[in-house]
Symmetry: C2
Subunit: 356 residues, 2 copies
Amino acid sequence: MRSTSARPRATIRDVAQAARVSPQTVSNVINAPDRVRPDTRTRVLAEIERVGYRPSTAARGLRHQRAGAVGIELNVSSGGGDVGALLVGQLTVRAPSYGVHLVPFADDEVFPMVEAYRDMVRRHLVDAFVFADTHSGDPRPGWLLEHEIPFASFGRPYSHPELTCWADVDGHAGLTLAVEHLVERGFETVAYLGWPLHLEDPAVAEDRHAGWVDATASLGVGGPSGTSDQELGAAVRAADALLDELGPGDAVACASDLLALGVLYAAAHRGLVVGTDLGVVGFDGSLLARRHGLTTVVQPFRDIADSLLGIVRDQLAGRPSPQAGHLLRPALAASATTDRTGTSTAYPQIPSLTRR
Amino acid sequence: MRSTSARPRATIRDVAQAARVSPQTVSNVINAPDRVRPDTRTRVLAEIERVGYRPSTAARGLRHQRAGAVGIELNVSSGGGDVGALLVGQLTVRAPSYGVHLVPFADDEVFPMVEAYRDMVRRHLVDAFVFADTHSGDPRPGWLLEHEIPFASFGRPYSHPELTCWADVDGHAGLTLAVEHLVERGFETVAYLGWPLHLEDPAVAEDRHAGWVDATASLGVGGPSGTSDQELGAAVRAADALLDELGPGDAVACASDLLALGVLYAAAHRGLVVGTDLGVVGFDGSLLARRHGLTTVVQPFRDIADSLLGIVRDQLAGRPSPQAGHLLRPALAASATTDRTGTSTAYPQIPSLTRR
DNA sequence: GTAGGCGATTTGAACGTTCCAATTTCGGCC
DNA sequence: GGCCGAAATTGGAACGTTCAAATCGCCTAC
C-alpha cells in the first residue's frame, strides 16, 4: 500500500548547498549558462544530475506569471472522430519543444464555453488556447480577441477573416495531389464526392472542391461530382448515384475518408474491385483509412501542431502576428484503393473474397 | 494584432482590499466558508464575483506542494484507436470534479518511458498518473510503486496481481449481456470471435471468452468460436471461417468492435443480411460501432474515469487502498446488427442496397 | 598604490497562496 | 462595567523560483 510520505524533492537550494554556490547561480546554470564560469557550471550540473533536480513548474509559473501551458478544448459529446485525437496526439508530442504542456478541458454542457476559457486563464492554468473546430457562428475567436487571450486555431476562424493566428491544411493542394496520383495510376475520369455547402464551415468544402475542379481541368480528367453530409449512410447513397455515371477505370476523389468509405461500399455493391476497376482516394489520414487500406491525403498533423504552438509562443512573446496564416501541404499516402496490381487489400473487399 | 499587455489579473489581495478584510479571510471564504461570519462571507463573495477573482493554480500548487494534476500517457505512435480517445475525453470531463486537471504526455521515442514519468513528477507538473494500456511486461507499475508515485491503471496491472489501484470493464458480464441480448432477439446459436491468447494481455481475452462460454452454456445456445488479431484483414478471414459453421438465424458475439466489423464483411460476402439473418454484437462502444450501426457492449468510460480519478485522489489523501480493484459493468447498446425488423441500417449493408 | 572596470557571484525582494500562531471582536455572565 | 471564552480575523512566514541590484575578486592603467 502506497503512503503519501512524499519526501520533499530536491530544490534549487539543495543543489546550491551541495555545489557550494548560491541558488541564483544554479538558476543561471539552467537559464543562462554563459553567465557562469565553466568550472562552476560543470560542478553545478554534476550536482543537479546527482540529486535529480528539476525546476518546479509551479514556482516558475508563479515567478513568471505564466503557466507554461496551452489549453485545448476537447469536444467530447460529438465524439470528435479520430482527426481530433490525432491532432491532440501531435500537440502533446510537440508541446515540450515549445516549453509548454497541454491542458485539455471540456464543456460540462451547462455553461457557455467561453466561461471555461475565462476560468482557465483566471486560474493561471493556461496562457493560451488552441482549438480545432472553428465554425461560422463560433463566439470564441471574437471573445478571446476582445480579452486579449492568445490563441491559435486549426482551421481559419470564419468569423474573423482578418486574423492570421491559424494553421490549416491546404485542401486545394490535397485534392490536386489526389487527382495527380489517380492520373498517374492510369485512372481515366476522376469524379468528386464532397460536402454540401450548407455545412458549418463551407470554406473547407469549397477549398477541397476547388482543388478537384482545377486539377481535373488542367489534366483533362474531369467527371461528375456529388455531395454528402459527413455520415456513412448518406455517403453510400451519394456514392451510389455517382457510380451511375462512372465505369471501370474511373476514380473518385473524396473530401474525407468517411465519404471515401461510402464509395467503397457503393462500389462493392456493384461488384467493382476497388483499386483495379475503381480508384478511390480519401482525405484526412484517419485511422479509418489505415484500417480499410484507403489511399488518402494525410493531414500533416505534426506540422499543424508546430504551427499552432509556434503561433501562441510568438503571441506570448509579444512578437507581431505573421502576415498570413499557415497553409500546410498535406501528403498522399498510397494504399490499396489505388493499387491497380491488386496485391494489397482494401476493405471492404467483397469481390476479392469471392474469387478466392 | 494582439499584444502581450497581460494586465495583472485580480489577486487575493485585491479582493481583500476591496472587501476590507485580510487576504487570509478571503482565503477562508473560499476554503473554509464556515469559519467566516455570514455577512463577511457575502461581502467577500460579492467582491470576488465583481473582480472575477480565481485563486492561482501555481501559487496554490507551490504552497501545497501539489500540482493538482494527473498525468496521462498518450501512445501516439500506435494511433491508439478511439477507445483511448474516449477514455481521455471522459477523464477530461470528470477531472474538475476531483479538483484536478489532466496533463497528457507522450514518449519521444528515445527515452524509456519511465524517464518521462520521473520528469513530470520532479518538475511538480503532476502528482499522479493514469494509464490505459497495461501489458504483461509493463515496467511502469513496478517502477511507480517503487518510487511511491500514485497511479491508477485502466486494466489490471498484469505484473502486479496484488495491486488494487485499477479499474477495468467486466468483460465476462459484457459478453453475458451480449449473449442474453442475442437470445432475447431470437437468435439460435451464438458463436464467438475473440482474440488469441498470445496477445499482450491475455487476461482480457480470457475474460471475454469466459463470459461467452458461461452465458451460452447456461442458456444452451453455444456455438463455434474463432480467434483473430485486432486487425481487419485477419478478422474478416477468421469470421469467414466461423460463418462456414453457422446458418441463418445464428449470431456472433465478438471481443471487439473491429472484430465485429470483420464479421459484417464476411457476412456481406455471403449475402447474409446482418440483423435479420445474422446477429452481430461488438465490444467497446467505439465510434466504429456507431458509424456502422453495430450493436455493441459499451465500455462505461465515465465510470472508469471516475474510478481512476477516485483511486489517485484517495492515494494522494493517504487513504488506504481498497480491498479490490474496480470491476465496472458495461452496458449494451442495441443497434442495426441485432435488429431483426430490418428498419435500421447497418453498414456494410450490401444486400439491402441490392434489394432497393 | 590606488582608482576604475569587468566578469562572476551573491543578496534581497517578490510572484500569490495558505498554514500557524497571535490578536481582536463579540456575546453572555457575574 | 468588567471579565471570560469562543468566534472571527489578522500578521508573519514559507512554498521554489528568478529578476534587479549589490558585492566580490581580480586585473589593468595611471
